[in-house]
Amino acid sequence: MTRPRVKKIEIQGFRSFGKLRQSCDLPDTVSVLWGGNSQGKTSFAEALEFLFTGQIARRELLASAKDEFSEALRNAHIAPEASVIVEADILCGDGKTRRLKRTLIEDYKRGGAAGCASRLEIDGVTCAEHELEAKLGIKLSQAPLRAPVLTQHTLGYVFSASPIERSNYFRAILDTQDLEDFRKAVATLPQLLKAPELLALTLLAVLEAAPAFTAAAARLRKAKNEAEVATILLQTTSTLLTSVGIEPLKTLAETIVQLETELGRRRSQTFPLDLLTRKALLAWGGPSSDLQQAIEAFLKEKAAVSAEAQRFVDLFRAALALPDHDTDHAPLDCPLCAAKATLTQERLTFIVEQVRATEGYTAAAEALQRQMRVIDGQLDALIASLDQALPKFMSKLSLERRKAGFSLAAIRKLVADQDAATAWSATSRQLWRASRQLRRGIAAAKAELHAAIENPSEWSGQEALAAALKGVQAEQGFFETRMLAYAAAAAAIEGPLEAAVDEGTQTKGWAQLIALGKTPADLWMALLAAAAHAAKVKAHEKALAEIDTGIGIVTDEKFDLLSKAVRSWWDKLRPDEPVFFDAVKRRSSAARRNIDLRVGLAAKEDRSDAKFRDAVAVLSQSQLHCLGLSLFLARAVQEGAGFIVLDDPVLTSDDDYRPNFASSVIEALLAEGLQVVICSQDYKSCKDIGHRWEHKGVGRFQIVRNDPVLGSEIRSESDTLATMLAKAQPFVKSADPVLRKEGAAKLREAIERFCKVMLVKDRQSKGDSAASITDYDGKNFSDYGATVMNLLTQDPAHPGKLKAAHAYVTPGPHDDKPPSKGELAGAFGDIKAFKRDYLD
């Protein structure tokens, strides 16, 4: 599969190009575009860059001047509605030619860091940039020099780039991003490899920080098993007890109790820390839907039963509960009021009916009572939890607190951060008030519940109950908010307070030792987890170091290959020069970001005495230019580019090296399979390249911009007459007589060329296919002028105009006076018109 080729380029409205579309057909091999200063060569090169990338790299490189590129892509002289388009026919690897088109949608704006906007199309279908590679085989490079286009502005990028930019540039050339991605993924593993967060390890860390226990903590870290952990803890607690005058008991559990007792005693002498302890609030989730259902069912049944029946239902039940009234019998005395012979069969039947009628109501009332009791119990639990959720000191009377030594003043003495103590005090008061409000709310709700439970038939407080329960929930939420504020404020003083107390009582680390001593098994498990984690971290570090070393070696290998390629291009451009390119390499084996460009300075021809220096420091501007070109060419080859565009690749001042470029460099590029497009202001070089590579079908073009409004024009150099006229034009209107004289000579050559082309065209039209311009070599206007005038038949005035034009530009034998501006302009205009009327 061959590499992509640019077959044709069309440019419209881009930078120096005007609204009339300019185009040129490029051969597969070499194309050279000649143009003087400010004619549009760089615009041509950047048009291709814009086509492929949608940007121009120059703006990215001049980071501080981005705003200055505002409206830079659109030709300043074209109408706002005129399109800015760059198109190219790309011959793809599959042998098919596809049309690539980029249309500017929005130009660069001042303050618009994102750049310009454009639309990319392949064969008329809008596409994304990655499709350049997928559909056309055009692979772009690393930013900012993404397109295979070298301009004067981008040539020195690698020398002026920051170390990171330079590193990225070369990494892209070396194509080692996959290794960097791998390395990065491995390097970030520790973030995922979380250290075990276990209470025992936290306690051990505190113990390690307490000088009295540092050694013991170190021994615990190295313990081999759980028994050893317990032994060390026992030894530590025993030693500690002994040191404070307490005879230690035998087991760890016993010594821990002894130590805890002693710690409590000592702390209480300084400050009662336990009065700050509290538990979490077991929040009430609110009444369940069962309550509401029970209330609704009860109210429904209640409405269906008369008030009298509701009142007497219990009495009726009591009457029915008596024996011997389920069969016919004589009237009995009423068992409830003792009235004589009042409980007749008829009355008994009535009572049974009444009880049946109130069964639903009774069941609903019982269900309601059950639900009310459930809620009542939940509120009792909430009160109990509330008591425990408050710090212990709040349950003590002020006298008790003072007796225990608990006061704000005492806290202020022990805590250095007075603001923290003030905040704790304020949040304590707020918490207390919130707890009172919650209690009041609970009491109100309980009162409503009890009213219903005790006398459901008289109860009608469903709305008041609902409001009271909602109130409890609201107060509970408020209390929780206050609790959070208190917890934050308390956390700020508890640590310092405990440290100060332990410091004052010389018990630093005791609490942690006690906690660890209570569960040595937990500590052992935590130590195992910590050891496993440490082993993983160590293994990871070792692996990453090995990967870094390996990537470094791979990078060096690839740098060696690149260095050879750059050296090869340098030697083609500057053979036998005592200064030569040596290598591009990492600054050291450990360096990841610093890339050096090293050159050799030799006095001997065989370079055996070379001294090596940094290129940027010792190379001249011309040499740096050459190195930049060498790097670009090496990169293009390395990345498998199909074509390259070079804008003035060799400095005008480098006359000695121009032939090397025209011959050996282009030869090597063609051998690499690259299509080469060169823009140059040096006519001699363009002509030289044209001659040298004629056998390869070199394409020769001229870029001229005679009128800023019309913009740059691309002309094929096969139209030699047009080229001659273009070269003459700048001199025609010159005020300088010397320049006008030169212009007259150029115009005279153009007139002679016109005549020869007319003669060849006439002969060819008459069947002389062998007719050639060279047939008239050595002849001049006097030889063929009359014949040509006979061919100018479109206007009777034409022969005379040709004769006059030639006379204007042809001085007499002793005539040093140059033609006037008017004469030259007239002659120039006539020949241009003849060309249009008879040849184009």
């Binding site: 194509d175 080692t176 996959d178 290794l179 991605d181 791998f182 993924a185 491995v186 970030t188 593993l189 995922l192 490899l193 496993a532 082993a535 993983k536 293994a539 990871h540 070792k542 692996a543 990453l544 090995e546 990967i547 070393t549 390996g550 990537i551 070696i553 791979v554 290998e557």
Partner: protein, 70 residues
């Protein structure tokens, strides 16, 4: 042959066929100790695409240590 080594062999053969020159990862592997964690991580990296690579690498790291401590 394990799945891992089969994958390595397949990708290595494919790379050799298509490019003729060693790939970057092949070059890197030649500079890593065969039984090392670094080599195991590289194999894991190559065994799938970048989606989920971190999780695979982490598992490889955990697994490697588990083997080593058994």
């Amino acid at each position: 042959m394990t799945d891992k080594s089969a994958t390595e062999a397949a990708s290595s053969a494919e790379a050799s066929e298509t490019a003729g020159t060693p790939t970057n990862t092949e070059r890197l592997r030649s500079h890593l100790k065969p039984q090392s964690l670094a080599a195991a991580l590289l194999s894991t990296w190559e065994a799938g695409d970048q989606t989920g690579a971190q999780a695979r690498l982490l598992a490889a790291l955990q697994e490697f240590k588990a083997e080593a401590t058994e």
